[in-house]
């Protein structure tokens, strides 16, 4: 069984009116390796969220196939297994929290997976610890801040121990501090826990830490590669996206013959590098 996510010639069509159809995705081919940290970027309506919903079988392609570790998402008999492997965090934390108490919310997934009670307890405690929510375990989710709610949503999915974590614009409703905390958490989950992360955003600043960027435009992949290559491509800004300030600085430095290593992925790292070179 091949590991990873494989999207083969996928087209997704929505029927808006009986006589009007929209192609949200047009013949997408994509492979995501296990352990990768991938960013999916594109302006609103480019097909990012549709693609994300194909990964765990919430949507089915009109044409083509999606395989998770070699398992076809089109077969309804596979859906539970696929959803155990591919966890999904949505944009609005308020709309994805089911239970009235944080701890019970996190246990919702493992309970549905019919795990033994001790295992449910162990996973809930672990997810609370990882997301720094231990002191909030008995709180009502609606009384938490937006950032904390999104952390609860993340912890709820993590408790299912997914191999792949798909996050559909999770930072769009967060303040800068909560956004930073969530992105740091995702980076750690990828590097320390080995969870494959697929982060969807329309803000390139969210995707600085990714290993690979996939840029969607009108339902097709128009750019793909390491963030440094993608942001440097002349097509990037024509898509209505803005190059992150870190890369603007890097490109300016490189144009002035100042070498910046590939590993630099944040402004503090860049500042430290410059200080060491001077």
């Amino acid at each position: 069984m091949s590991e990873g996510i494989e999207v083969v010639s996928v087209t997704k069509q929505y029927t808006v009116y009986p006589d009007s159809k929209i192609n949200a995705l047009r013949g997408i081919n994509l492979t995501i390796e296990k352990g990768e940290y991938v960013g999916l970027l594109g302006i609103n309506g480019s097909g990012k969220s549709t693609l994300a919903r194909l990964f765990n079988g919430l949507l089915q392609p009109t044409k083509g196939k999606v395989y998770i570790n070699g398992i076809d998402t089109a077969d309804p008999a596979n859906l539970q297994e696929i959803r155990r492997m591919v966890g999904m965090v949505f944009q609005n934390p308020d709309n994805q929290l089911v239970c009235p108490v944080v701890e019970e919310e996190i246990a919702f997934g493992p309970e549905n997976m019919e795990l033994p009670l001790q295992e449910i307890r162990r996973r809930v405690d672990w997810a609370l610890h990882v997301c720094d929510l231990e002191d909030k375990r008995h709180h009502a989710p609606h009384l938490l801040s937006g950032g904390q709610k999104q952390m609860v949503a993340l912890a709820s999915v993590l408790a299912m121990l997914p191999e792949y974590l798909v996050l559909d614009e999770p930072t769009s409703m967060l303040d800068p501090k909560s956004r930073r905390a969530l992105l740091e958490q995702l980076y750690l989950l990828n590097k320390q826990e080995g969870i494959t992360i697929i982060l969807i955003s329309h803000n390139p600043e969210d995707l600085l830490q990714t290993d690979r960027l996939i840029v969607l435009d009108q339902g097709t992949i128009c750019l793909e590669g390491a963030p440094r290559e993608v942001f440097a491509n002349a097509k990037f800004e024509n898509l209505g996206l803005e190059v992150p300030s870190l890369y603007q600085l890097i490109y300016y430095l490189e144009a002035n013959h100042f070498a910046v290593p590939e590993k630099i992925k944040s402004i503090p790292d860049l500042v430290e590098h410059i200080c060491l070179q001077l």
Partner: protein
């Protein structure tokens, strides 16, 4: 939506907090039966003191609960007046063609006591039990109905989601109300039709937003492996302990004692 709300769960580790929700639901049901069955003033006073002791021992804010009782004073007063004026008996005061009677006043006071006891009992149940535990308790108690193909699990899940979303919907309603107010809606207008039209401008977007939320929630639940088939393994699985047996015995004795007391004090 901040601060303590009436009937909202308050975290604690008191004896009553730790009781199994089934014990609390059964005790409350027994209390309702005994309150409705007994018309002994002394027995009801005893139950009222018992409820107060339960509130104090579960470390709930007694002052807050007393304030809540004060808030339903109109209902209590109407109950008293209806009983006082509509019960035949020895006249105490005459207002036109109707009489206030001593029997009516006593019956009114008894009914007020009943209402207060029921109110306190339901608050103790709601404020010491998390909604999910309460629902799990209801689900366990209604489990025999599953044999009649009644989807108890689905009903309790729907109830649980309603508990979870009520505050969010209140918050949303308040946001929409303010948005409409800033665009000229007259919620305080003296004309009834204007008022109704203003509220329609809140209800329609709220309804639409609720449908969107429901669709999002459905996706979130699906992606977390939710199935409508009952799953009995829960993080907070219910287990009756010796303290539950004690509590049931205690409440059972009190309810049983109510019958002879009511007969003797009649």
């Amino acid at each position: 939506m901040t601060g303590m709300k009436l009937g909202q769960y308050v975290y604690g580790d008191s004896f009553i907090h730790q009781l199994d929700p089934r014990t609390k639901i059964i005790c409350c049901t027994l209390a309702v039966i005994s309150v409705m069955a007994s018309d002994s003033f002394y027995y009801l006073i005893f139950l009222l003191l018992l409820m107060t002791a339960a509130i104090v021992s579960s470390r709930l804010n007694l002052k807050f609960i007393l304030k809540s009782i004060y808030q339903i004073r109109s209902l209590l007063l109407v109950t008293l007046l209806f009983q006082a004026f509509l019960t035949p008996g020895q006249s105490l005061l005459t207002l036109g063609s109707i009489n206030m009677t001593i029997e009516g006043l006593i019956l009114g006071s008894i009914n007020i006591l009943r209402l207060i006891i029921l109110f306190m009992g339901s608050l103790i149940l709601l404020m010491t039990t998390t909604p999910m535990k309460l629902l799990t308790g209801i689900e366990y108690l209604l489990k025999p109905l599953e044999k009649l193909n009644i989807p108890v699990h689905n009903f309790t899940t729907i109830l649980g989601i309603s508990f979870r979303f009520l505050p969010t919907l209140f918050e949303e309603a308040s946001i929409i109300r303010n948005a409409q107010k800033s665009r000229g809606s007259q919620f305080d207008a003296p004309q009834l039709m204007v008022k109704i039209k203003s509220y329609a401008a809140v209800v329609i977007p709220l309804f639409e937003a609720s449908l969107c939320r429901a669709a999002d929630l459905g996706e979130a639940m699906d992606s977390r492996c939710y199935t409508p088939h009952p799953n009995h393994l829960r993080l907070n699985s219910l287990k009756m302990k010796s303290q539950d047996v004690l509590a049931l015995l205690f409440v059972g004795i009190i309810v049983l004692a109510g019958v002879p007391i009511s007969i003797l004090t009649k």
